[in-house]
């Protein structure tokens, strides 16, 4: 196994794996949307008008997911982590301990970092870290549900509906133009044929 590649990953993302989520998210969602679009295109059971809705829907799904993940999910997890880091949301016994050692006034201030500024006994520190991790995971889940399962489907449907409307309108214009062309062509050919039939010396 090429260890230098593993070392690059360890060096680049070992401190903060969250950094790479945006890159992997973009590739992952993009490829998933491409696969799903192929599945729509090659599905004979779907009508063309439905495909006109579903293809942009899938495209928008990937785009909106990337943006909403970056803005909402990350926003929620940052907020959750900040709440616990500054002591704005912590278990009561930890809050009591922080107050007891004289940091009571610092609780809730944005630049306060419990892990950095407060020396805690092992058991309280473990309890604090467990609580912090739990809040971070919970806030990320809430953020993901809100962004991926509520905001993304609403926005992607709005976009896809608009695209379907535009595509159907384009298709209708094309059909109407074709019809008009055929009609004008027959109108044009008919009298000529009549004239030819009536005036030419050879009667058909």
């Amino acid at each position: 196994m090429n260890k230098s590649l593993l070392n690059i990953i360890a060096k680049k993302f070992g401190k903060d794996p969250g950094k790479m989520l945006i890159h992997t998210g973009v590739i992952g969602w993009g490829m998933s949307a491409a696969a799903q679009i192929c599945a729509i295109v090659f599905n004979d059971k779907l009508k063309p008008e439905q495909k006109m809705f579903m293809i942009p829907q899938e495209f928008a799904d990937a785009m909106v997911n990337i943006v909403s993940f970056y803005v909402i999910t990350r926003g929620f997890s940052t907020l959750g982590a900040t709440f616990v880091r500054t002591g704005r949301l912590i278990p009561k016994n930890i809050s009591n301990y922080i107050k007891k050692i004289g940091f009571g006034k610092q609780i809730g201030k944005i630049d306060f970092n419990i892990n950095k500024h407060v020396k805690m006994p092992k058991n309280i520190k473990a309890e604090y870290n467990d609580f912090k991790k739990g809040i971070e995971v919970s806030s990320t889940i809430i953020g993901s549900i809100l962004s991926c399962n509520i905001i993304t489907p609403i926005v992607r449907n709005l976009y896809a509906s608009k695209r379907q409307e535009q595509n159907i309108a384009k298709l209708n214009i094309k059909k109407n133009t074709q019809k008009a062309n055929i009609a004008s062509y027959t109108n044009y050919i008919y009298p000529t044929m009549q004239t030819f039939q009536n005036n030419a010396s050879l009667k058909i």
């Binding site: 070392n7 070992g14 439905q50 709440f83 889940i141």
Partner: protein, 189 residues
């Protein structure tokens, strides 16, 4: 990248304003504290995928069904495809994540007595020179590995499975519609 910095700036601005409007809170209920701790210990990437899939089933098909901007048939077909996509995506997503994490746990161990050489083939050399957080490295490697696996499964499993389920669900919807029409006819007669 400039856009990302700008977005980051706005996110931190919004989070700061939300933060400043929330009062200090302490949790006294031991059940809640234990619940939060349990979430932190037991919910990782594969479980997160399951939760997202389950909640997606509860919201996304209904958002599709109530999309008044398209005709009824498109609405139903789109909801059927969404359900199919969620089932296919969640199943493969969960399995890929679960087995990628398992593989990395098995092959990225810290070299010491009792650990076989093949158990360290994914361990970086930096672990000897002072990589502080092997957990973060494993998470990063797991994400990269599952991304590569998913590039394959997206086309080979997800897409055909979604297509198969979509057509099954569309048939079910059509059969139900026909049944409903027949019932109406019988009732009218």
């Amino acid at each position: 990248m400039n856009i990302l910095f700008k977005v980051d700036h706005y996110i931190s601005k919004i989070t700061r304003s939300i933060y400043s409007n929330v009062p200090n809170m302490t949790v006294n209920n031991q059940k809640i504290i234990n619940g939060v701790k349990w979430v932190g210990e037991h919910i990782s990437s594969p479980q997160n995928r399951l939760i997202l899939g389950a909640s997606a089933l509860m919201s996304q098909p209904f958002i599709d069904l109530y999309n008044k901007n398209v005709d009824e048939e498109t609405r139903k077909t789109s909801a059927a495809r969404t359900v199919a996509k969620i089932i296919a995506g969640t199943t493969t997503g969960f399995l890929v994540r679960y087995y990628c994490i398992k593989a990395i746990d098995t092959f990225a161990k810290i070299p010491k007595k009792g650990v076989k050489p093949w158990e360290t083939i994914l361990t970086p050399d930096m672990v000897k020179t002072g990589l502080k957080n092997l957990g973060n490295y494993k998470q990063a490697l797991g994400t990269i590995l599952s991304l590569w696996v998913m590039l394959f499964t997206n086309f080979a499993i997800d897409a055909p499975f979604t297509k198969y389920l979509t057509n099954k669900f569309i048939n079910k919807v059509h059969n139900y519609e026909q049944y409903k029409k027949w019932r109406e006819q019988v009732n009218n007669e």
